[in-house]
Structure formats: C-alpha cells, structure tokens
Symmetry: C2
Subunit: 145 residues, 2 copies
DNA sequence: GGCAACCATGAAAATGATTTTCATTTACAG
DNA sequence: CTGTAAATGAAAATCATTTTCATGGTTGCC
C-alpha cells in the first residue's frame, strides 16, 4: 500500500514542539541503506542494515514503516519490476533515470537519460523489448482540492 | 510471477497434434472479460465473468493461470499502479497507451499518445505529478542467446 | 466403442509480501 | 523525576498469488 493520508505513519511531530523533530532511527537507517543498495526490497534493506551493523539494525517492520513514510514524502520512489515485490530507490532528482529489466536474468540496466525521445529506439539495438510500463502517479485535478 | 518458461502453463498443445489446439475455455473467457473491463485485477475479471454468466464462469485459479499464459504470449500486459495488486490489459498495439493514476481517488486517466515527447508537460497543467515509473521489460543482450 | 495419455479445471492449502496489533521501550516536556 | 506520546519489534493477520491434488473432459488410436 502506498499509504494514504489516514494512518499516515504517526506524523513524526504531532503535538510535540517543532524543534523536537529529529531524524527517527528507522528512517535514517533506511535512507542510509538506500544510498548503498539501490532498487532494494524491504527485506534487502533490512539485511543490509543487519550486516553493516552499527547502531542501525532495525526490524523488517520498521523498515516497511520508514519506507511508507518516505514514499509519502516523495523522498523515496517505489519501483515495480513485475517480480512480485516492491523495490525502492531514492527520489533525488539528480539521479533521475529509468530501468530496463531483463525478464530472464533480472539484470537491471539503468538509463540515465529521461527525455524519453528516442530511448526506445536506441534501446532496441541491444535489448529485446517485450513490453514497457509508463505510469505517472499523482493527483488528478479534482483531488488537488 | 510473470511466469518464466519452466512451468510454462502446460503448453496447451505438447504432444497432441497441432490442429488440436483450441481456445481453452479460461483463456477465451479472460480475453473476453478484458475487452469489457480494462485495467482489471484477476479478482475483478473473475467477478465480471460470474456476473455476465453464460458458459464462461471460471475459478479465480483458472483466471490466474490464463492471465499468466497470456502475459507469457504477450497478448496481455501486466500493469502496476502501486496499489498492491497486478492489473491487466490487452496488449493490442492499436490501443497502446499509458496511464495517469490518482493516488487519492484511484482514477485512471488514459493517455492515448505514446511518443512521450511533451506528455509530461501537457499533463502538468491539470495533474499534480508525484512521480512516474517507466520500466521497459524484455531480454538483455546476453539473454537473447 | 473402449482405452490410455494428456490436459483443463477448481477447491483447498501453501506461500510470500506487506500490514496490523499489541505490548514494551524510548524520548521529550514540564 | 513523571507523565504522555511516539517509536519499535514480535507475532499475528491480511491479502494477492501460486501450488498441490484430485477429478473429469478430450483426443487420438485400436
Ligand atoms: Mn534506479
Ligand atoms: Mn490502459
Ligand atoms: Zn538477461
Ligand atoms: Zn483524484
């Protein structure tokens, strides 16, 4: 679930005075993990944190919570490679890019151009395209209030 | 699972003589359903078939099997709107298009242009883009044998 | 027709990813 | 300190999808 606004991850500040807001452990840990392992699943993030153990080992549950929080704040982007689990990556505009996923070896080729122009044609020389997904997620006119 | 070639949906003809191949009930039913309800989940397809009941009512299990078969043959395309379930649509090139999914009301706006050019800019006038996914699925060079 | 192999189907069980619940700990404000 | 609210993790619950298994239907052949 991309987590709507209702149970919105216990807002991280609520009634507490503003200066109280600090980097919650799990959120910080997940961000750190995602800088190291890109396109990672929640489980992979948890594993990475438990291996490179400092004060950062957190539970799978908390990883999911932090990920949902970060997706809600658009700091992290969920990815679907149609392999049955959600993958995540940092949503820094600097490294905006797309993916070519091999359905056989699962290799992910990063394409760091975005203006889609002739991407597909360029790609077709080496990659056998079976299909592509292009989904834009956001708020429609009426939902923007 | 997008179903690799291993357990490949019991090939539908195998040792039987070629002319034996006929439209298996569940595959036919699913195709018919997808012509009526676009972007449908397996459950929605099953529901539609049970409502518009003729000789087409089939089990959820068979719907999944037929969908995996059709995806493998590229007749059906799986879609991910990041809502936790896979949606499907016919892969006829004639109606090739993309989607804008509202994360609040789940409304799906169909965009029937594909040459991506200024799609995003055009969209931005009415749609508040939170993020977009563009994934190309296929076979990398080494996997094409 | 009758037989044998093969295949399609559905019900129920199993899986696997993700979310929820609940009890416990931690952190801060006063 | 002390009380309140947030953060956390373990276990249970969900939920979509796959697998297993038993059964009945087709097909090709004698
Ligand atoms: Mn990436
Ligand atoms: Mn569509
Ligand atoms: Zn490959
Ligand atoms: Zn909307």
């Amino acid at each position: 679930m991309v987590f709507k606004s209702d149970n919105d991850f216990q807002m991280m500040k609520t009634t507490r005075s503003p200066h109280t807001v600090k980097t919650v452990k799990s959120v910080h840990a997940v961000l750190e993990a995602l800088q190291q392992v890109n396109h990672a699943t929640a489980q992979e993030i948890t594993d990475w944190l438990s291996v490179s153990k400092r004060d950062n080992e957190i539970s799978l549950t908390s990883v999911y919570r932090a990920l949902n929080h970060l997706v809600g704040k658009a700091e992290v982007k969920p990815l679907n490679f149609n392999d049955g689990q959600v993958r995540y990556e940092l949503n820094t505009q600097k490294m905006h890019h797309h993916h070519f996923v091999c359905t056989q070896c699962n290799h992910v080729q990063v394409v760091d151009v975005c203006p889609f122009e002739q991407i597909l044609d360029t790609l077709r020389s080496t990659f056998l395209i079976q299909y592509h997904n292009f989904e834009v997620i956001g708020l429609c006119e009426s939902c923007q209030n």
